[in-house]
Structure formats: structure tokens, C-alpha cells
């Protein structure tokens, strides 16, 4: 059986008041509320013991009731009304299929993609990250990835004498202006640079084959 109290309600109240601490009964745990005044004891809960979840939830409800009582029903009603008014109107119910993907999923996807693009940005702006040997980095000719036109690949690259993908042209740049060695298709740095270039051209219409 729990005991509810708005003021310290326990043995040695005078002593407790003198010490400005809530009185505590032996073998009981006392919790105080956020108003800094109300105290509630949980009989039978020894220091160090943990309440089972259901019991803990009931304690929380009791604490709320105690606080509500201490504030008075009029104020409580006013707050409730205020909170109701502040709650946004639910959007006109458009029938949508349920999805198993949550907002949290979407946030994770964004973060992962951002990380990849950022890795690409770093490699693009670093003369060594892609194996370059003469101090030249991609951004020196392509600030903000301009003049990379990834939307035009695949296309027949006259100078390469073959149809090229963006990554073939990146590799050509690594080999020639940067004086490095071409990277294998699956190389993380190559993939990251490709991701950065593509993300910099977000929204541009695809025009494969354009020269």
C-alpha cells in the first residue's frame, strides 16, 4: 500500500523540516516531484532495488495524480485546454497505404548518403586521395564539380575511342592530369567521387550521349 502526501508525511516531521530533507521511513524509498515540494514514498522498495516495469509505470501515474491534486483542478483544466489548442490539426485524412519504413529509416538513409558524398568531396579536393602524384586535385579544374557533366554519360568519348561512363572519365583524369594509377571499378574512393559529382548535379536532366 502506497502512501500519498502533499507535504512530508512521515515520522520525525519536525526533524525533517529542521534538516530540510524529506523524512524517510526505514526500508522505504522516497521520491520527490518536480515541484520541489511533494514527496511520495514507495513502501517495501529497499535502496538499490529496481521496480518491475509495470509497478514503475503505476508509480509514475500516482506521481502525476499527486501533482495534479497539488495544483488544483482549475489550473489543470486550463492547461489541458491550452495543450489541446496547441496541438496541430491532424492533416486531412488521405488514405495512405501503410509503409514499413519509418522517419528514422529515412533519416539514416540521408546520413549514410551524406557521409558518402562527403567522402567524395574530400577525395575530390585532395591531390593525394585518389593516388595523384603531382599536386593536382579534381577541384582545380572543376570547382563545385562544374564541367564534369555526369548527366551526359554514357557517351562515345572520342579521345578514349570507346563509350565511357563517368567513372572511366574520372579514371582518365586520375591517370593524366593527376598522374596516378586508374582505380578498379569497386574502389571506395572512386565510388565516393562519383557520388559527390552526381550529387553536385542533382536536378539536372539526364542527357546520355550529349557532347
Amino acid at each position: 500500500m502506497r502512501t500519498l502526501a502533499t507535504k512530508s508525511l512521515a515520522i520525525g516531521a519536525a526533524l525533517a523540516a529542521a534538516l530540510a530533507i524529506p523524512a524517510v521511513r526505514a526500508a522505504e524509498t522516497t521520491v520527490s516531484l518536480c515541484d520541489g515540494e511533494s514527496v511520495m514514498s514507495i513502501p517495501g522498495l529497499k535502496p538499490g532495488q529496481v521496480l518491475p516495469p509495470d509497478e514503475a509505470r503505476r508509480v509514475a501515474v500516482d506521481m502525476m495524480q499527486l501533482w495534479r491534486k497539488s495544483q488544483g483542478e482549475t489550473r489543470w483544466a486550463a492547461w489541458t485546454k491550452e495543450a489541446e489548442a496547441a496541438r496541430p490539426e491532424p492533416a486531412a485524412a488521405e488514405e495512405k497505404q501503410p509503409t514499413k519504413f519509418t522517419a528514422r529509416d529515412q533519416m539514416l538513409w540521408k546520413l549514410e548518403e551524406k557521409k558518402w558524398v562527403e567522402d567524395g568531396y574530400k577525395a575530390f579536393h585532395n591531390s593525394k586521395a585518389l593516388g595523384g602524384t603531382i599536386g593536382i586535385s579534381c577541384d582545380m579544374c572543376h570547382p563545385d564539380a562544374t564541367n564534369t557533366h555526369p548527366e551526359t554519360y554514357p557517351k562515345f568519348q572520342t579521345q578514349l575511342k570507346k563509350v565511357a561512363l563517368l567513372r572511366d572519365q574520372i579514371n582518365w583524369c586520375i591517370e593524366n592530369p593527376l598522374k596516378g594509377k586508374p582505380l578498379p571499378d569497386g574502389d571506395p574512393a572512386l565510388r565516393a567521387v562519383e557520388a559527390y559529382i552526381l550529387s553536385a548535379r542533382k536536378g539536372v536532366a539526364l542527357e546520355p550521349g550529349k557532347h
Binding site: 603531382i134 599536386g135 582545380m140 579544374c141 572543376h142 570547382p143 562544374t146 557533366h149 579521345q159 592530369p177
Partner: protein, 368 residues
């Protein structure tokens, strides 16, 4: 001893020198007189010379010519030979000009990361230029040691001089506010931050209060009808802030320049053909010897005829040097000597007429 042909060339030079100063009516007289003289000396001028210069008869006389080399971004030769090869090519170009230019302007960004070895190497290479060299500083030369080494090698970064009736001013337009002391950047970190064109944390270039005061007092000694040519590393107008194709106090600088009837600003930094006119001020960009920049996504002046997008498979394409012809009236024609391509001339008449006459050839292979 001069042979007959030398004499003929000399006469021809004199003849055309006179012709370009003449109006159309006088030209007819001069041509008649020249023909008569030729007949008298039994040497007829080849017929083909005459029509060529009828076109030029109304053009003002060229007073002198200077050349420019700019934005070489040198690393040490042991690290990167390509940029060294490129500036050497520019030196050869300038030394081969006939007649030789009166002087050469170096447009800034001689070094890539302001290293003493890079600047020293550049200084050595520029010694091979036969004409006198006038130096200007760029941000790549400046931000490792705030210009200390550059000034040791080349002297003042801000100065003026007079040449054949034209007043020349060289500015240091790459001053930015201190954003390195707070976050405790090392000199090298500061240099690298400044060297990144698309650095989102960069600061805009300025000429700054002190230098604007100096400019105003320098120009106070110059008559408003005297032609003035100003060299700045960044364009003294605003194209695109994110790449510092921009000078933040450009309007204030333009205000100091605007009382002069014949004012030209020639700038580096942008590595591309750029033409603009604001009031009576004509603006021209310079090519880089090292690499061409793409055009900025916004802010391009309407008088700019863009150069074709460069071929990445040709390391010289889109790079180059150039010359500036200064006429008797102080106006200039700007020649872009674009390697691997035909040269392009942006004439004073083109800018003067707001693009109505003498437009340079349009590009056929646009950027995207």
C-alpha cells in the same frame, strides 16, 4: 648592308604607319602619293597591301604594346613539371613577339602554395623574359607568409608607374579578413584554405580601406584626361562570390576610377576570357598558363564572349598568355593568345560600342 628587300620592308613599315593615322579622304591622297613614290623609285607596292589598310585607316594609331603572363600556379619542378612547361612556353611566346612588347605584366598566382621554393623557381623563370617585368601578387603567392617572400623577391605589391603617357597602377586586391587566428590555423592550413577556389568557408577579396586611400591619393596626381590602366588580381567587379570571382569593395574602387575618361582594368584569377564595361571603365581578364576555370554559374557580364570549353585531353587547351595594344587615345585592344586555338581579340571598339561593333567570334562549344 641593307639589301633591296630590307629597304622595301622599311618603307612599307613607314607607309602603313602613316596610313593608319589618316582619315579615309587623306588616305586616298596618301595612297596616291605612295604609289607615285613607288613608281618613281620603280618599286611598285604589292597590290594586296592596300585594301587591308583601308579598313584600318580610321583606327587610332597603336602607341605601344605590352604582354601578359598570369596564374602559373607553380609547384616545385620535382613535384609537377606540367605547370613549369606551361610558363616556359609563355616566356618563349613573349620573347618571340616582334616588335618586342614594352614590358610584361605578371598577373599573380606565380606559386601554387606560396612556398619559397615555388616563388623562387618562378622568379628564375621570369628572368628569362627579355622585356622588363612588372609583378602583381595573387592569393596563392600571399597567404603562406602574408607576402613576405614575395615582397623579398619582387618588391612592393602596390605601386604605380607611368609609361608613354599612360598611368599604370598595380593593386593587391586579394586582401581578406582574418579568419585564421580564431581557429588557430597554421600558415599552411591558411594557405590551403585560400588555395581552394570553392571553399565554402572562404572570405571575399577586397582592396581594403588603406589601399583605396592610397589609390585615391595616387590618382589625385593624375589628370582626368590621362589614360589609366589598373592591374588587379581579382576582377574589380562582382561575378560570383563563392569562387571569389569578386572584389567585395568593387563599387568603392570603381568610384575612385570613374572620374577618368579612359580607364581600363586588367585582372587575373579567373583563368578565362572575360570582358566587361561599367560606365567608362573597360575590364579584361587574363588567361592562365596552368589551367582554365569553368565559367561561374552566375554573374557573367553581358559583354563577355566566352571561350569554348577546353579539351581535357590537351593540357595546353584553354591556357595561354596575351598582349594588350594601347592606342594613342589610351584605349586598349586585348588579345587572348589561347594555346591550341586561334587567338581572340577583344577590341576597344567592341566595349566602347557596348557590343554593337567588332564582336569577337562567339563560342561554338559551350560549357554545361
Amino acid at each position: 648592308m641593307k639589301d633591296r628587300y630590307d629597304k622595301y620592308l622599311e618603307d612599307r613599315e613607314k607607309y602603313f604607319d602613316r596610313v593608319v593615322r589618316l582619315g579615309r579622304r587623306d588616305f586616298v591622297k596618301a595612297a596616291g602619293a605612295a604609289a607615285a613614290a613607288a613608281i618613281a623609285s620603280s618599286r611598285l607596292l604589292p597590290h594586296s597591301f592596300q585594301p587591308v589598310d583601308v579598313v584600318n585607316a580610321a583606327a587610332p594609331e597603336r602607341s605601344f604594346r605590352f604582354a601578359y603572363v598570369s596564374d602559373s600556379h607553380l609547384y616545385e619542378r620535382t613535384l609537377n613539371e606540367r605547370f613549369v612547361r606551361a610558363i616556359l612556353k609563355a616566356v618563349d611566346d613573349v620573347n618571340a613577339l616582334t616588335p618586342p612588347p614594352d614590358f610584361v605584366l605578371y598577373g599573380g598566382d606565380l606559386a601554387q602554395l606560396g612556398q619559397p621554393a615555388e616563388l623562387g623557381e618562378g622568379a628564375e623563370i621570369l628572368k628569362a623574359l627579355k622585356p622588363k617585368v612588372r609583378m602583381m601578387v595573387g592569393e596563392h603567392d600571399w597567404y603562406l607568409d602574408m607576402g613576405e617572400q614575395w615582397r623579398t623577391l619582387f618588391g612592393k605589391d602596390v605601386y604605380s608607374f607611368d609609361h608613354k603617357g599612360v598611368h599604370f597602377v598595380v593593386l593587391n586586391s586579394v586582401i581578406v579578413e582574418d579568419y585564421w587566428t580564431g581557429p588557430k590555423l597554421t600558415p599552411m592550413e591558411r594557405m590551403q584554405a585560400m588555395a581552394q577556389l570553392d571553399n565554402p568557408n572562404g572570405r571575399p577579396f577586397t582592396v581594403g580601406d588603406a589601399q583605396r586611400d592610397w589609390l585615391a591619393s595616387d590618382l589625385a596626381k593624375v589628370k582626368p584626361e590621362t589614360p589609366v590602366i589598373v592591374f588587379s588580381h581579382s576582377p574589380l567587379y562582382k561575378i560570383y562570390k563563392a569562387w571569389n570571382f569578386w572584389t567585395d569593395d568593387a563599387e568603392q574602387v570603381q568610384k575612385i576610377l570613374s572620374p577618368f575618361k579612359t580607364m581600363t582594368v586588367i585582372h587575373g584569377h579567373t583563368h578565362q576570357m572575360l570582358s566587361n564595361r561599367i560606365g567608362n571603365i573597360h575590364f579584361h581578364g587574363m588567361l592562365s598558363t596552368a589551367w582554365p576555370w569553368p565559367y561561374a554559374p552566375q554573374g557573367l557580364p553581358k559583354l563577355t564572349v566566352r571561350m569554348n570549353r577546353s579539351d581535357p585531353f590537351d593540357e595546353l587547351d584553354g591556357c595561354g598568355d596575351g598582349t594588350v595594344d594601347v592606342f594613342g587615345n589610351g584605349r586598349v585592344d586585348k588579345q587572348y593568345n589561347s594555346w591550341s586555338r586561334n587567338p581572340v581579340r577583344v577590341s576597344a571598339a567592341y566595349l566602347e560600342s557596348d557590343g554593337a561593333t567588332d564582336p569577337p567570334a562567339r563560342e561554338s562549344d559551350v560549357n554545361y
